[in-house]
Symmetry: C2
């Protein structure tokens, strides 16, 4: 039996309950623990396995080291009709971005479009979590973040000055699943490199290069090179601009100021992110819009296929199937992760998963 | 002497005056002709040679065929504090997007951020033209458009359902040139393919593939294949989402409804685009922000280089140098273009360039 087939499946609610217990045990207020746990378990339900409970031991370590403020005053620092800027007060990023997305949604209901940024936030999990919050209110959501460690240089250089700065865009459909794009501006997200390293697998050429510009395919040598942006200088430009909009504009860290949150457990990361909510009804009849998105599904799917392809996928389609399966069968918890969560439970003296 | 060195240089004002005469000759009101001519000449000044006076003969052809409304009522159809939707009334796209960018800038001065979309617009030239308008008011500008012809299929398919849907983002600096990203979501913009075909050059692998998925490097065979999105399925997803935001959300054409404006001179293209203006002062002290952008310039430029690279470039840097040169020396007009403009002048009985 391989590690893959040995993964046990844990119901989303149970997973969320475990995460909540862990955070409560290290002193997080009950309501906040519930909010963060629910978002982390949702990340697992959506198949973002590198962004859910997998992060719990590291988050706990950071909280114990004093790197996260457990009694934050997350507040609106600046506000106008079409925007707000939050001071995250070094809270868990999930709390800051949950607040940002809810606020953007509320403001967009009035202003039509609202852009809410934050500084002094922290790692908040997968980008799509926060683009999906406006979706629940029938709106379009958009999220951009400055990544929490620099994994690539400017195009043509070798100094790690940029992160994978991801974007997520979520658009509702009528009878089809929503379209949800969630992508790093690099060919591969860094989490994928870590996963390959864990599993002892190699990477395809095109993910990373070394400092001489040669292909790097051994993920255990990741420190000797860097990620490649999508489309070369284009992905570099896009990631750079996203970093400016999510970082500098919000008064958050960017470039050399970025704190590697895995290497430094104490310094405030001053992470910057933003959410845009778009009230579809401000532009067009929302039902007509959603029917058009159904047509986008059908049209794209109906294209003849290139040799070697079995189907055409829409953004968010794979995630939709994974989520249905995970919510019905439980989230797969791989043995190595299971052991680390059992250790954590013993350490915190809480009921195990 | 090659065609390249034989290009004569024409002052930007002179170029603008010629374009204005041509549009006036085919019945465009004087003020509109001045606005469009000025934007087209600016495109040439910025080095977007495929988007400036190069397009004049085709625009004139379309106007004469009745495909453009010369007496448009460009009006605000819907409006809230953070957004507006324009009905372009099938006007020249330059007029619609100029209006959209000015409106977004005005609204952002109040709301902090403003998003202005349009339907029934037309081709408007390079994306960066409209991202640069908020820049003149010290703001950040962002522009996204649905392209005017489909040049790529959904990822894994062969039916041309998507355009190169470009994005431009413009950010002001203090003592450095602004950062201006202007990119198609494909590895190469279609205009680059056309330019290679004109010059009898081949294309590098990675720009296009044929219907069997094989590399296509002969630009004269461009009709037998399609452009590749940046980062494979990622660029496809990004282009698709941009198309939904700029097209469907605005009630504009997308997918199978896209009119190829070169093949069909008469049908309204119902082009969709949007501009976002961000008032930096709503988020952060604008001078501090601009100094940070200067630091971005210096930091990126100071990175050690990869073998094979001579320098690190920032988005908009090359354009900045081209613009300085073109404004000092004049815009290069290549002999083939010069001849077609001379023919146009004779045809319209206007003073030649």
């Amino acid at each position: 039996m391989t590690e893959e087939t040995a993964a046990r499946r844990v119901r989303v609610e149970r997973l969320s309950g475990f995460i909540e217990r862990a955070f409560t045990a290290v002193g997080m207020p009950a309501e906040d623990a519930r909010t963060v746990a629910s978002l982390m378990a949702e990340a697992d339900a959506l198949g973002s396995e590198g962004h859910g409970v997998f992060r719990l031991p590291q988050y706990v370590k950071r909280i114990r080291a004093g790197g996260v403020n457990l009694r934050p005053d997350i507040r609106i620092e600046r506000e106008r009709a079409g925007m707000a800027l939050l001071d995250g007060d070094n809270a868990m990023g999930h709390l800051v971005m949950h607040r940002a997305a809810e606020l953007a949604t509320r403001k967009a209901a009035e202003a039509g479009v609202a852009w809410v940024g934050a500084h002094h936030s922290n790692h908040a999990g997968p980008a799509s979590l926060y683009a999906r919050i406006p979706l629940r209110h029938g709106m379009i959501g958009l999220y951009v973040a400055v990544g929490n460690a620099n994994h690539l240089p400017p195009w043509g250089g070798t100094e790690l000055l940029l992160s994978t700065n991801p974007i997520a865009i979520a658009v509702p459909a009528a009878s089809r699943p929503p379209l949800v794009l969630d992508m790093a501006t690099t060919v591969a997200a860094y989490g994928k490199v870590k996963t390959r390293a864990q599993r002892g697998e190699t990477m395809p050429e095109g993910w990373m290069i070394d400092r001489q510009g040669r292909p790097l395919t051994d993920p255990r040598r990741a420190d000797e090179g860097f990620l490649l942006p999508i489309g070369g200088y284009k992905g570099y430009g896009l990631g750079l601009m996203f970093g400016i909009l999510a970082g500098i504009l919000n008064g958050a860290a960017f470039g050399r100021d970025t704190i590697d949150f895995n290497a430094d457990l104490v310094s405030a990361t001053n992470t910057g992110q933003f959410v845009v909510a778009i009230d579809i009804g401000a532009f067009i009849d929302p039902d007509a819009f959603k029917r058009q998105i159904d047509i986008v599904w059908d049209t794209m799917k109906s294209s003849p296929l290139l040799p070697g392809f079995e189907e055409i996928r829409l953004p968010g389609e794979r995630t939709h199937h994974i989520e249905q399966d995970n919510r019905a069968q439980g989230v797969p918890i791989h043995p190595a992760l299971d052991r680390s969560l059992a250790d954590l439970a013993a350490d915190l003296a809480i009921e195990p998963l």
